[in-house]
């Protein structure tokens, strides 16, 4: 994905030198189109060289040869590769991402179902990660070399190096089994599953729309643990970056000047230094958010969370290529979208970028 990011950044730099908004938009559209085309082409090729037979997902291992041959033909797999790709692209241009073999649904419908689950989890995780990670990073920077700094470093290292699989299971064991603070795997208790019709697909929002507070709290109790575990990872990253950005700022002369002027230490740290740190931090946070939006497969498996990561992985292992390609487009779009968003924020936060 870093290729996309880089592309986009280059696009921005180049865009700055063109005159007029039309040129910018045209350039943007062009670079987006190229990016998506490249994304689809590469994913398509990878899908075709996988040593997995896509027909197997459709007919199973025990189907007789005639059925196998017929389905293979129906799936267009006997055509030359370039022709398969051409057919696929022309369908996509008409807004048709095809049908998933595994779920018997149109891919777009599947994604509309699974993406909100991931979005909800990633957003909550990022909110938790940011609201704890930034203060922790600032705290560590201010007390550089003392125990708070070491503490934050240890927590960060642990967050970085502990396998999420283990952490998830431990979390369930402690907070669900032993302490009974949170609910178990899944987005809702099993017997609530039938009572909620997806409007937005975001469980926390849908339950509020229906005005059912019981369901809402149930959804909260299900999401809090996986979100916290994902948050731990982004927290570790964000805290570390905040610390190093802050250290850089705190050694600047304007900080010294401010101190000489007698401005309170709190104001210097939280207003002046952090204010300047916010600009590069936005990019860090955006990247970590975009990573979470891809869907964390292991977290989704342990928490029986039917999200995008699980969907794409499962589709890939079955060579269900329509689903994989559809999912890839979404991930690509998310990365580009989040990058653009961080560009906008960048401009808002940094007056120099507006010039």
């Amino acid at each position: 994905m870093s290729a996309v990011t880089r592309n986009n950044r280059n696009g921005r730099k180049r865009a700055r030198f063109t005159s007029g908004p039309t040129g910018t938009v045209l350039r943007l559209v062009f670079s987006l189109a190229i990016t998506f085309f490249g994304l689809l082409l590469v994913t398509f090729l990878i899908g075709r060289v996988l040593p997995i037979d896509p027909v197997l997902a459709a007919v199973g291992d025990r189907a007789p040869q005639e059925v196998y041959d017929r389905v293979r033909e129906e799936m267009g797999l006997n055509l030359p590769l370039w022709q398969q790709f051409f057919i696929y692209i022309s369908n996509v241009l008409q807004g048709n991402f095809g049908q998933s073999v595994l779920t018997a649904n149109p891919v777009l419908e599947d994604i509309k179902r699974v993406f909100p689950a991931t979005l909800e989890l990633a957003t909550l995780a990022t909110i938790i990660g940011v609201s704890l990670g930034i203060p922790a990073g600032v705290f560590a920077a201010v007390h550089k070399g003392k125990w708070p700094d070491h503490l934050v470093r240890i927590i960060g290292l642990a967050g970085y190096s502990m396998p999420i699989f283990w952490l998830g299971l431990m979390g369930l064991l402690i907070f669900y089994m032993k302490l009974d603070w949170v609910a178990g795997p899944g987005r809702l208790d099993s017997f609530y599953l039938d009572f909620i019709e997806p409007t937005t697909g975001l469980m926390l929002v849908d339950t509020l729309i229906e005005g059912d507070t019981d369901l809402f709290w149930n959804a909260v109790s299900h999401i809090i643990l996986p979100a916290s575990i994902l948050a731990y990872f982004s927290l570790a990253y964000i805290a570390r970056m905040t610390r190093s950005f802050m250290l850089e700022q705190l050694s600047q002369e304007y900080i010294l000047t401010a101190r000489v002027k007698g401005i309170s230490e709190t104001r210097i740290i939280w207003r002046h230094a952090l204010g300047n740190v916010m600009v590069p931090l936005v990019t860090v946070i955006a990247l970590s958010y975009a990573n979470l939006l891809e869907g964390s497969v292991l977290t989704e498996i342990i928490f029986a969370w039917p999200g995008l990561g699980l969907y794409i992985t499962n589709s890939l292992l079955n060579a269900d290529m329509n689903a994989v390609l559809g999912g890839t487009v979404v991930v690509g779009a998310v990365f580009i979208g989040v990058n653009m968003l961080s560009d906008v924020l960048y401009r808002l936060l940094d007056p120099r970028a507006r010039r």
Binding site: V59, R62, Q65, F139, G184, P185, I301
Partner: protein
């Protein structure tokens, strides 16, 4: 700063406080954790996956069924009675009166005829189960028809053993669908297939409430079921892939039944008094497929030696721990004609002398394509260690399920460790794959397991065909015993275990039924204390 952190911590604690998880499921609902992501369709004419079969078994009725404890006892379900003509080619079923579909439509012989015709016309993966009796898209409407409202006639092309025909009708493709309902949703002459993939048109004890692929499947009781309404008004199956998560849900009481616990989880719940286990021998077999394209494996002495080189007892007791029994013939216990003797056991000395006779006293090197799941990998490693004792260097090639299978089906393996589940309850299902290979060339039109392992089954192919025409069940059983003995002796298969399914459930759940296949795992008798 400190206030901020304290506030956040408090906020989190408060947010989590009011939602203590409920520790019990409702009395009239059954909640299960089950890895159901193999379901790719809900149309009984297409369903060929384990959890799909279980869905169809609980929501659709068939003409006939068999006793789960003694499969030789075939009884009527939708068919009240049936007759086989003198020449053995015409089967006539009398359909029970007064049965309604969930839609409210009456169930008649016309629906039954339509359902069977539909299987042949749609020609999906399991269609051959009926197709093997000579039905084609061209002739099926003349061969399977309703003589009147309550009489279904089926004309097969040869005088097959009646048990063969009847067992095939107990399979999923024998499910009767609501003709009017299905045709109301027909698009471009697809006989309602696209619609039925995600919808329901049956008469069974449960009806479909909602299927969300990869997430859940929920069923509602059919209050008007002709054979008694189920006590559970709702069945909710949640897809939980991770077995450790299933265990937690079960121990906590958030679900009633966990279906996919692994050996270590079964061991750790063993001393939990709130949980009980139900187990049932299934038809699936664990085996090694030895490719005859490999120069070592094509040597009969080597094949024999390898059959002595599996620690059957050790694997069964520790790795599969209760989820299997040793079984070496190709027909699982419970099938007509199953041969339940297990002549091979771990015998290093015997294997060594056989290898020496074969000309490989110092062993050789081979590869084994192995699916990377915990238990399959553990089995492969046990075998690797055993073979090392006689100098055979086994290289394990791990891969994902579909990946190893793709290679196996293309005959590119040396050894494949796999699991084979029968397609229907008649012995022909396994005979036609382990002992039957009419064409061993690369572009053969039929590709049974014998073909995948490049094994020319010789006269066993003809013997297998002959067994389908033997109308005396005792003689028929003897023919299968003979086939099994020959495959045991010469075949390219080291068949090791027959699978046992274990359902782990809360102590208050009663009468959950596990049958010999997933078609016969029933929810309709379940009660809860």
């Amino acid at each position: 700063m400190r206030k901020l952190i304290a506030g956040l911590v408090m906020g989190t604690a408060l947010a989590t406080a009011p939602m203590m998880a409920q520790a019990e499921t409702p009395k009239n609902a059954l909640v299960m954790a089950f890895s159901i992501d193999d379901i790719i369709t809900l149309d009984p004419a297409q369903i060929f996956e384990f959890s799909g079969a279980e869905y169809a078994g609980n929501t659709y009725d068939r003409l006939i069924g068999f006793d789960n404890e003694d499969v030789s006892k075939i009884h009527g379900v939708l068919a009240e009675s049936w007759e086989v003509s003198e020449d053995g080619k015409t089967f006539t079923f009398k359909i029970r009166d007064g049965i309604e579909f969930a839609s409210g439509n009456d169930l008649t012989a016309e629906d039954a005829a339509f359902s069977l015709q539909r299987v042949i016309l749609l020609d999906q993966s399991p269609a051959f189960i009926l197709g093997q009796f000579g039905f084609t898209a061209e002739n099926v409407k003349d061969k399977i028809y309703a003589a009147d409202e309550s009489t279904l006639v089926m004309e097969v092309d040869q005088p097959y053993a009646p048990s063969f025909v009847l067992y095939c009708l107990t399979a999923g493709v024998g499910a009767v669908v609501d003709k009017e309902e299905v045709l109301a949703h027909e698009v471009d002459g697809d006989l309602g297939h696209e619609w039925l993939k995600t919808n329901y048109a049956g008469s069974g004890p449960f009806k479909l409430n909602k299927w969300t692929a990869g997430e859940s499947l929920s069923l509602t009781a059919n209050e008007d079921y002709w054979d008694g309404a189920p006590e559970m008004k709702r069945v909710i199956i949640r897809s939980v892939k991770e077995s450790a998560a299933q265990q937690l849900l079960l121990e906590k009481g958030d679900i009633d039944i966990a279906r996919n616990l692994e050996a270590d989880q079964l061991a750790s719940i063993a001393d939990n008094d709130d949980i009980k286990l139900l187990s049932k021998g299934k038809g699936a077999l664990w085996y090694l497929g030895l490719s005859q394209k490999n120069e070592y494996l094509s040597n009969p002495k080597v094949r024999e030696a390898l059959k002595y080189l599996v620690d059957y007892k050790g694997i069964s007791e520790t790795i599969l721990a209760g989820r299997s029994q040793i079984h070496q013939a190709f027909l699982p216990e419970g099938f007509l004609g199953a041969y339940n003797e297990n002549p091979y056991s771990l015998n290093i000395e015997k294997a060594k002398s056989l290898l020496a006779e074969a000309g490989y006293p110092d062993g050789f090197s081979v590869t084994m394509d192995t699916r990377n799941t915990t238990s399959i990998m553990a089995m492969a490693q046990s075998i690797q260690a055993t073979w090392a004792q006689v100098g055979i260097n086994l290289e394990i090639i791990p891969g994902d399920g579909k990946q190893t299978l793709t290679k196996y089906r293309a005959r590119q393996h040396d050894i494949y460790i796999g699991r084979w589940g029968p397609d229907y309850q008649d012995p022909h299902t396994n005979a036609s794959t382990f002992a039957w290979n009419p064409d061993n060339s690369d572009d053969a039109s039929a590709k049974p397991l014998a073909w995948r392992n490049s094994w020319d089954a010789g006269d066993l192919t003809a013997k297998t065909d002959a067994a389908t025409l033997e109308r005396d069940d005792t003689k028929r059983a003897e023919m299968y015993v003979d086939l099994q003995k020959q495959v045991l002796e010469n075949g390219p298969f080291v068949i090791m275990f027959q699978e046992t399914e274990i359902a782990s459930m809360r102590g208050n759940v009663n009468n959950f039924v596990l049958g010999p296949s997933f078609d016969n795992n029933y929810y309709r008798y379940v009660t809860k204390d």
